[in-house]
Amino acid sequence: MVTELPWDEKAGTLRRDLAAGMMNPACKHALEAALQIKERFSAKITTVTMGPPASEEVLREALALGADEAILICDRLLAGSDTFATSLVLKEAIKKKCPKFDLILCGAYTADSETAQVGPQLAEELDLPAAAYVEKLEISGRTLRVRRMVDNFRETLEMEFPALVTVSMENYKPRYAKLSGLDDAFCGNEIKTLDTASLGIKAASMEKKGSRTKVRKVFLRKAQKGNVLLQGAASNVVNEFLDKYQRKIGTVIGKSIEEKKLDDKK
């Protein structure tokens, strides 16, 4: 786990080079969904990520798990991109490298800022029918049927390929890589690296097409409550806590909580 905060304080953007190298947990579920589709139908899986060179490790992991192809979009020009710019660049890469896709799967969340915005914005860029938070996918012919839970509503949706879904973490528990997969990851398949020039994105156009939002400041969250601090051996501290708050707890749970010795005195 990355627990240090890799913020570049000057630029105010996440330093992805420090956070790279681990696959986003939700993306693992999306990859698992793709692998299960591949097991049932003849499919080719291309994984795409945008990040610093270290993100290559994420792609190696995907190849080891069974992906067929991997594309890394890597360019200093893209550092600090917001979701608006990221989704635009992903679109360019997909159009260039795998324009005949049937289905795009994204993780429903990202581990860093949890914006969950890139998937839906990519759907807009590619003008695709889309659904977020998908728990289950079924394919028959060119029709994709998905189930999901949104705001307490259980929904079943259908759309035709090509389509985009973001996959939740309810199902599609990620598998572990097999040893033979590791061979593929490091010997068989090459990772293709793209930069903005090869995508036909000019530095000048990133000004106009690039990020819409700007981080002005990053700061530590302040805690608000003044609080009671209890310290000591576990058994003592628990007794002290209950003596003080058992009445309050009792009221909430609708049961009486009291010390035995009080009982004995009756």
């Binding site: 915005q117 914005q121 029918p129 259980r154 981080v215 805690a223 601090l229 209950l242 707890i249 749970i253």
Partner: protein, 334 residues
């Protein structure tokens, strides 16, 4: 046609769980405060069928103007239809700001709307203000830590944000209030939906869950391991409550994703929250906004969770848990 309109702050009317989720009212309240600073009006959007109740409610809670489309074709929520409608309205009327509740729907819908309007969007804000230079200051949680970022959209309009439910307080209703209600026809060039809604129903399985539990026992990595974590269940049972978990715990497989508490999981509002071995990253604490009374147990008295707590118990989470279970068994009378 450009008219010299007053600036407008739009609030998307997410009325689907009106009685459970008041985020639209909370956003209207915040918009009213922001509108005063930038001299704007607050405009609520309501698209649906048989929506008079929401028109009345949003007016009573502070909206100056309502843009309403009441049509049987809008009977159920549709991302695609709403996108087309708001895209057309926004291009015609140029709102300064659009605020959307960070419900599941909002978090899927808002990014697409922002993309269509070619503008910026910040996700799941926990604060909104106006900067000295008159921009919407969007305060959003950032990288897995206790960090907040101040985000602005400098050069594009509208400025957009999704906002976490529970961030702001609604204005008490006043049914005498009046708003300008514009009832608009559904545009007839609405594109055909490419996503077909086959089935939808309000989920019953969700009715009794962690979201409405009055006692919640949450555990984090500080519990040590899966077996020790499972012990939380025992305390929850004693107190008639539910167990919640942080993200690292869910990822480690100690708990199901369904009990994840936080920004990407459940937003809880227990009367008492026990927090065992949780440091208090904002991804988790963002889900605790409405917890009444917090008891945190952690080795580190400097942990954010300990500072947020009403009672902070310094100690090994698992030790304290075991002692608490033992002692409660002695003390609870049925």
């Amino acid at each position: 046609m450009t008219r010299n309109r007053k600036k407008s702050i739009w609030v998307f009317g997410d009325y689907r769980n009106y009685y459970q989720n008041r985020v639209t009212l909370q956003l209207i309240a915040r918009a009213v405060a922001l509108a005063k600073i930038i001299e704007a009006e607050v405009c609520a959007l309501i698209f649906g069928h048989e929506i008079d109740e929401w028109i009345m409610e949003y007016t009573a809670h502070g909206a100056d103007r309502i843009l309403a489309i009441d049509d049987p074709a809008l009977k159920s929520y549709s991302t695609e239809k709403y996108l087309a409608i708001i895209e057309a309205l926004a291009k015609e009327r140029n709102p300064e700001i659009i605020l959307i509740g960070a419900t599941d729907f909002g978090r899927e819908f808002a990014p697409r709307l922002a993309k269509r309007l070619k503008t910026g969007l910040s996700a799941d804000c926990v604060g909104l203000d106006i900067t000295d230079d008159g921009l919407l200051l969007q305060i959003a949680p950032s990288f897995c830590g206790n960090m907040l970022a101040e985000i602005v959209t400098e050069f594009h309009r509208p400025q957009m944000a999704t906002v976490r439910p529970g961030t702001f307080k609604e204005i008490p209703h006043d049914y005498e209030r009046k708003a300008i209600v514009e009832r608009l026809p559904l545009m007839n060039n609405l594109p055909k939906s490419r996503v077909r809604l086959i089935e939808y129903e309000r989920s019953v399985e969700k009715e009794h869950t962690i979201e409405n539990a009055s006692v919640i026992v949450c555990g984090g990595r500080g519990m040590g391991n899966r077996e020790k974590f499972k012990k939380l269940q025992e305390l929850a049972k004693l107190l008639g409550g539910d167990v919640g978990a942080t993200r690292p715990v869910v990822y480690a497989g100690w708990a199901e994703h369904g009990v994840l508490v936080g920004q990407a999981g459940k937003h809880i509002k227990p009367k008492i929250l026990f927090s065992f071995g949780i440091s208090g990253a904002i991804q988790h604490t963002a889900g605790l906004g409405e917890a009444d009374f917090i008891v945190a147990i952690n080795k580190n008295p400097q942990a954010t969770m300990m500072k947020m707590a009403d009672v902070a118990v310094v100690g090994d989470a698992s030790d304290v848990l075991n002692n608490l279970i033992k002692e409660l068994k002695k003390r609870i009378r049925e």
